[in-house]
């Protein structure tokens, strides 16, 4: 049994009487990539926090056996000393320090006691950066100048500097585009060759089946099963079945399209970067959406889709904006977000934590935020708190938000339920046009299904919907028509019948190629 690196036995962890983990067992073999799957709130992150000492020994019951000995970690430093390093979803880098400084943060290379040896630091940093594929970056540049993908790699470099043996990655690719994700997965495989064991938490099933050697599925605080690549057949459907406890025969709910006339149209839209007025972010974009139609915006990350949507939404982004917007044939002049909302346009942000929600406020306040001045909720600026409660309760039931009360702060909800609160906010503003930016980012399969159902219902009610998504299967699954966007321009338009991932990629590639000519 020497090839077992880590065994967690009968782990139970309670939060004020609620069992987040209930008799969970996890066995990780030396040198493997082990994926942890489960819906949001299933207990994956809690389990990893127990392992890394975030919840100290005594705070949970059960035992952790690492390298054959029982461990009782009191804090993260304890577990790091043993070579267990966790990289959280939110990166823990100091943006205004250089790469080298970050790599050795809290673990500085010192010559004498407390004096940092900068030359040695540099030399060691360069050495480590090679292992994570960052050999082309100077170790002196600031972390804030790197993209998220590269920052993630710096995090891994930081873990390597700590002589990591067991690396835990919590949704490492959640905020990365396909290209960066692929690169990161490649690095994980090469680390595996160097003998580093990895535990990765992920929602992205295709990535899991690509890199993982074994998979443990957790549901509602219980271990459901562990699948081994060499013995079991691992397919996405198989994992989903374990995660949700039922077979999701169709990941995208069916919808009958009843498409009407064009109700929303944007013509010759141009947007420049807000800080750099010479950089054009959106270039001569024209598109239209019909009543009851779901239109997708496909493209690589940084293609300018978010910028396009936000600039339409009352100039919430950009400078030197030009172009025309028509709704029901009438030209709109939107100078502020309020103008946009008043004209029946809603924008669901991709960044629900920073741009979508006020996390310290409760569910009902968040829901009514964009429609407080409507007659329903206020009269001459005086809020009708009772109507507010009624409306919030109504939406809670309607879109099935799982919470104890609508007066619960939204920070206490899972990602999927938070997203539903954001959707409720925009549904309450009674828009005719909804621009949805990555509406299912970072939420689990079950919640995704529910969000798609909401989108279907909205389309069924005759709204015009734009969905921006970096997950191509999602666009294929829910859209009637897709615009392919690249470098701020429309690179193509695809009808439902001809939609395929290959064709979308081809359009992007063709557009990139065309630019080079």
């Amino acid at each position: 049994m020497s090839d077992i690196l880590l065994e967690m036995r009968h782990i139970t962890k309670e939060f004020s009487g609620v069992k987040a983990l209930d008799d969970v067992n996890l066995v990780v073999k030396r040198g493997e990539i082990h994926a942890l799957c489960g819906e949001n709130g299933a207990g994956k992150s809690t389990l990893m926090n127990v392992l890394s000492g975030v919840y100290p020994f005594g705070d949970y019951s059960g035992e952790i056996i690492y390298k054959g000995e029982e461990c009782q970690f009191r804090d993260i430093r304890d577990s790091e000393r043993k070579g267990i390093v966790i990289i959280h979803q939110e990166l823990a880098l100091s943006p205004y320090m250089s790469i080298a400084e970050n790599v050795f943060l809290g673990n500085e290379v010192t010559s004498q006691k407390g004096v940092i040896d900068w030359d040695k630091t540099q030399a060691k940093a360069i050495e480590i950066l090679q292992k994570v594929g960052l050999e082309n970056e100077s170790v002196d540049i600031l972390v804030s100048e790197l993209g998220v993908g590269k920052q993630q790699l710096v995090e891994i470099a930081k873990a390597l500097a700590k002589k990591v043996e067991l690396l835990i990655l919590d949704e490492p690719t959640a905020s990365l585009n396909d290209e960066d994700s692929k690169k990161l997965l490649g690095i994980m495989l090469s680390l595996k060759e160097q003998g580093i064991t990895c535990i990765m938490i992920s929602h992205k099933l295709n990535e899991i089946s690509y890199v993982a050697d074994s998979i443990t599925v957790i549901r509602d605080g219980h271990t459901i099963e562990t699948l081994d690549k060499s013995m079991d057949e691992i397919s996405e459907d198989r994992i989903i079945k374990g995660m949700v406890g039922r077979e999701l025969t169709n990941r995208y709910p069916a919808r009958e399209s009843h498409i009407g006339d064009v109700i929303f149209e944007v013509k010759h839209w141009n947007v420049f970067h807000p800080e750099d007025p010479h950089r054009q972010v959106v270039r001569d974009v024209s598109f239209s959406v019909r009543q009851g139609e779901v239109v997708g915006f496909a493209g690589l990350m940084g293609a300018g889709r978010t910028e396009l949507a936000m600039s339409i939404f009352g100039r919430a982004y950009g400078s030197k904006i030009s172009g025309e917007i028509y709704k029901n044939g009438k030209q709109l002049h939107l100078h502020s977000v309020k103008d946009a909302i008043d004209n029946g346009i809603a924008y669901v942000s991709e960044d629900r934590k920073n741009l979508g929600l006020i996390s310290i406020n409760d569910i009902k306040w968040n829901m009514t935020l964009a429609s407080m001045d409507r007659d329903r909720f206020s009269n001459k600026n005086v809020i009708n708190a009772n109507e507010e409660i009624l409306a919030a309760e109504e939406y809670r039931r309607k879109i099935n938000i799982k919470c104890m009360s609508i007066e619960q702060p939204v920070s206490s909800l899972s990602g999927g339920n938070q997203q539903k609160v954001v959707l409720a906010k925009w549904m309450m503003s009674e828009p005719e046009v909804l621009l949805m930016d990555e509406p299912t980012r970072g939420i689990d399969v079950g919640a995704k299904y529910e969000i798609y159902s909401i989108i279907n219902d909205l389309a069924g009610a005759g709204k015009a919907i734009v969905v921006i998504s970096s997950e191509m299967p999602e666009l294929l699954g829910i859209c009637d028509r897709v615009y392919v966007i690249n470098e701020g321009e429309i690179a193509g338009e695809l009808q439902k019948e001809e939609l395929s991932q290959e064709l979308i990629m081809k359009k992007i590639m063709a557009h990139i190629g065309r630019e080079k000519d």
Binding site: V337, Y347, L355, G356, I358, I360, N381, V382, I389
Partner: protein
């Protein structure tokens, strides 16, 4: 998991333990000092002094709370109080301006001072800490310069009425003591209004089929509030009647509580403090909110400046020194978060009263001013620490 501090049911009734906690603390501190000072603390004269001494802190705390909800502070408050008080005294004494036009002019002046700061904060996006720090220096300097370093006074009686005067009285005498019927009546009418308001709220909830709190809870709450209110008005009745500043304070508390809890603009201030970017993308004009929060603070500074100069019957270059810190401390003690997004008017007022009762009580039992500062500092530190720890535990 669910936070304990906010126990609630479907009704929308939030029982904020923290806020009641501070009210209980206020009563406990008051009782302790009553015992230490052998009852001097609760004498009619001292109750009256408490109101008079703390009126301007309460006025400033109300405005400061709005700044703090947005996640910022206003450091210029003390200097602006001094400046507006000095300007008002100069208008009345040197230019012979009639009193009420002078007051009005100063209030508008205060608003303009606030707008001046608002332009830098909201339009030019200079951090409020820096803008108000700069204006703290600017207006202190201007105050000294327009007063030429000297005290301006004495101010006419009609002026000092605002800070040191009383509402008309109607005394009844029995034996050695007298009682002002107006104050007694105000207490009774106030009690009736509170009871009416409470039951109307409940009736409204029933109309919507919401659950309402059990009757005993409402009764206990009302009995306590009515008892405190009437204790207070009876004490004032036994002295000189209702101080004029009390009406100003009450009006401000009512108006601003209404704005914060019932009006769309109030909700917008909380939203900006909670997450400015999300608020902006929900159609709230965040710059406009910031601008008016600081403009409002300027106007309330002017009001406090008038009240302070009236109470002192003069304007001095050193007036209002450190008021900004008292106002900020009141808000924090009253449960506002230093990160913005939370806080209540009533909490800040309770915070101001806690500071006031401490000051007054320690003076009565003969503690030196030095020790008073130490104790006040410890109370601020303690209140905020307890608040943070209880929040962390509930997470």
């Amino acid at each position: 998991m669910e936070t304990k501090a906010v126990i609630k049911n479907r009704t929308g009734v939030q029982i904020n333990l923290k806020q009641y906690g501070m009210m209980i603390a206020l009563v406990v501190i008051f009782v302790i000092f009553t015992m230490l000072s052998l009852g001097k603390n609760a004498s009619a004269m001292n109750i009256n002094n408490l109101v008079m001494q703390n009126s301007y802190v309460v006025i400033l705390a109300v405005g400061m709370l709005l700044c703090i909800i947005t996640g910022n502070v206003d450091l210029s408050v003390g200097s602006v109080v001094a400046f507006t008080g000095a300007a008002c005294a100069i208008f009345v004494l040197d230019y012979g301006m009639p009193i009420f036009p002078a007051f009005l002019l100063i209030l508008v002046g205060g608003l303009i001072v606030g707008m001046w700061q608002g332009v830098f904060i909201a339009k030019l996006h200079v951090p409020p800490f820096i803008v108000t720090l700069a204006n703290m220096l600017i207006f202190r300097g201007l105050t000294m310069s327009i007063l030429k370093g000297q005290t301006k006074g004495p101010l006419p009686d009609a002026y000092t009425q605002v800070g040191a005067g009383y509402l008309p009285t109607f005394y009844i005498h029995f034996g050695n003591s007298k009682l002002d019927l107006v104050a007694v009546l105000a207490g009774i009418i106030g009690s009736l209004l509170i009871i009416y308001g409470e039951f109307r709220g409940i009736a409204n909830k029933k109309k919507y089929n919401f659950q309402t709190p059990p009757l005993w809870q409402t009764t206990v709450k009302l009995v306590i509030i009515v008892a405190i209110l009437n204790f207070f008005t009876l004490k004032l009745a036994a002295y000189n009647g209702l101080p004029f500043v009390l009406t100003i304070m009450l009006a401000l508390i009512l108006i601003y509580t209404f704005i914060c809890s019932k009006m769309v603009v109030g909700r917008q201030i909380y939203a900006v403090g909670g997450n400015a970017k999300a608020a902006k993308l929900s159609g709230i004009k965040t710059d406009k909110v910031m601008f008016w929060v600081y403009a409002n603070m300027g106007m309330l500074c002017a009001l406090a400046g008038i009240v302070l100069s009236a109470r002192n019957a003069s304007a001095t270059p050193k007036a209002g020194d450190g008021f900004e810190l008292d106002a900020i401390a009141s808000c924090y003690i009253g449960g506002a978060s230093a990160y913005g997004g939370t806080g209540t008017i009533i909490g800040s007022v309770v915070g101001a009263l806690i500071m006031g009762v401490l000051n007054n009580g320690m003076s009565l039992i003969g503690w030196s001013v030095d020790m008073q500062k130490v104790v006040k500092g410890l109370v601020l530190l303690g209140a905020v620490t307890v608040d943070l720890i209880s929040k962390q535990k509930n997470k």
